[in-house]
Symmetry: C2
Subunit: 318 residues, 2 copies
Amino acid sequence: MPPTERDPRALVEAARAGDLRAKARLFTLVENGGPDAQAALALLAASTGRAHVVGITGPPGAGKSTLVSQLAGVVRQRGQTIAILAVDPSSPITGGAVLGDRIRMQNLHGDSGAYIRSVSTRGAVGGLARAVEDLVSVADGLGYDVVLVETVGAGQDEADIAGIAPTVVLVEVPHLGDDVQAIKAGILEIADVFVVNKADRDGADQAAAVLRAMLSLVQQPESWKPPVLKTSAINGEGIEKLLAAIDEHQEFLRKSGRLDAWRVERARRRLLDGARERLLQRLLTAVPDEELQSLALAIAEHRISASQAVETLLSFDQ
Amino acid sequence: MPPTERDPRALVEAARAGDLRAKARLFTLVENGGPDAQAALALLAASTGRAHVVGITGPPGAGKSTLVSQLAGVVRQRGQTIAILAVDPSSPITGGAVLGDRIRMQNLHGDSGAYIRSVSTRGAVGGLARAVEDLVSVADGLGYDVVLVETVGAGQDEADIAGIAPTVVLVEVPHLGDDVQAIKAGILEIADVFVVNKADRDGADQAAAVLRAMLSLVQQPESWKPPVLKTSAINGEGIEKLLAAIDEHQEFLRKSGRLDAWRVERARRRLLDGARERLLQRLLTAVPDEELQSLALAIAEHRISASQAVETLLSFDQ
């Protein structure tokens, strides 16, 4: 690679000019973190905040990838550009790849107005949110009109996605499970648009009715009423209505002032996360690794409690 | 409540003596965190490290709760005590409860050797792992022989559970989904025992065969070979074999020295998490809230980058 492309500024400029290899390198640079990643993000910062960021979540097997590729097709048809960040829950052991399904997005291959990127969660607690937020900033700063973040979720991930995307779409399928626990109360409160996908199957109407009934229990008066839509990603049914509902929600957020409030809240969280991490790094430069290891061993052998060990560790801080 | 029960030492003593209300209060105290929680954990620390900690995870609708209650029944039959921590992914907005399924564990009601506790994740990134680890320490320190941690998982949660429980059981169902993505590579590498539940349904043999084929791709030579078992929680089939496989894995961990290595690694992580949090709290006592809010606003309005704001925040640190 030419030496200039290692430089964050050159990478950002080449990526902005549409160089695909530069884009890929820029995303990788930011995903890996470090000073160059921070420099690239600082260069992009002034041009962020314009993209329409949408989270798509739901259980494995709900057909999210196919739905996302159909949504992207409609976005492209109306002349907007789109970046798709597909978050793959991968191994904390190998950081390994997924038994992938990106192949479903073949309809977007060779389209310069659509960019698809798989993101590995790398198993770090809190790492998903931070890495994905930074990658959203890259896509946003590069000028993509729409940024879709696809995650597999059934718990913690939903909380993460709500902090990353102001509009969250939950994708369910008919007869997902016969257990009441198949839909959790928390998920109902996070999602802004509900989709019953694979609506060509039996039970779609019933699933939509159950969702609506559950939503009526958690809805606040005067606020956004989350619509429940039916889609069939296989034949493209309902995709345009879904996009219209997403647009409507973003319009609601803008007009009500909630988008601004959400952005300040998110910024505050990023600030505290960053401070937490920087403070720890600074402390660790003052602590010999043997000391750290011996404190860990003392906790593991129940000779001291974790909080006692933390106190000892903090005594190294100047 | 009598004044003595507010005191961590009195609570721990009463809980150890078998007082159910004291147990419930002790778990609540530790779940809520704070100095009293730390004091209680320090009191319990010396008697932890004996329990057999097992994580049970899998997608919604896989029948985990029924399986856990059956497993608990078998554990009780062989004369051991058991604590079950059922982690409910609940709302980051209301912290609200789940559309619960704890009712399935009715077979354990009134049994003083079985303790069941729902744990809300409260939507905090990283909060799940920390809170659950502390609650595991409580159950362990109170002398329960087996601690089962049940989580709904399809991503990040798996990484969390592998850091909490040295043995992880993944519960799947026949025909979970027709998508390849229904089983992620990362999950295969985290789980130590695989279960195809609802084995009375069609497709159980096929699901088990697919799991075995996928496992053969990720297995390391010379290490633990994760068994793939079939269970039917409804009629109790395969439950004893599952417990035997869990025992065998713990035996493997102990003999190979991996349990000790895992404990030191976990202790190191707890130490760093604790230090990170304490350092931030210390910094924030020196920062006026208006300053924090104005930095967040500056990030949100793209006037400065998040890392620039972090530098400014850190300048308050003495």
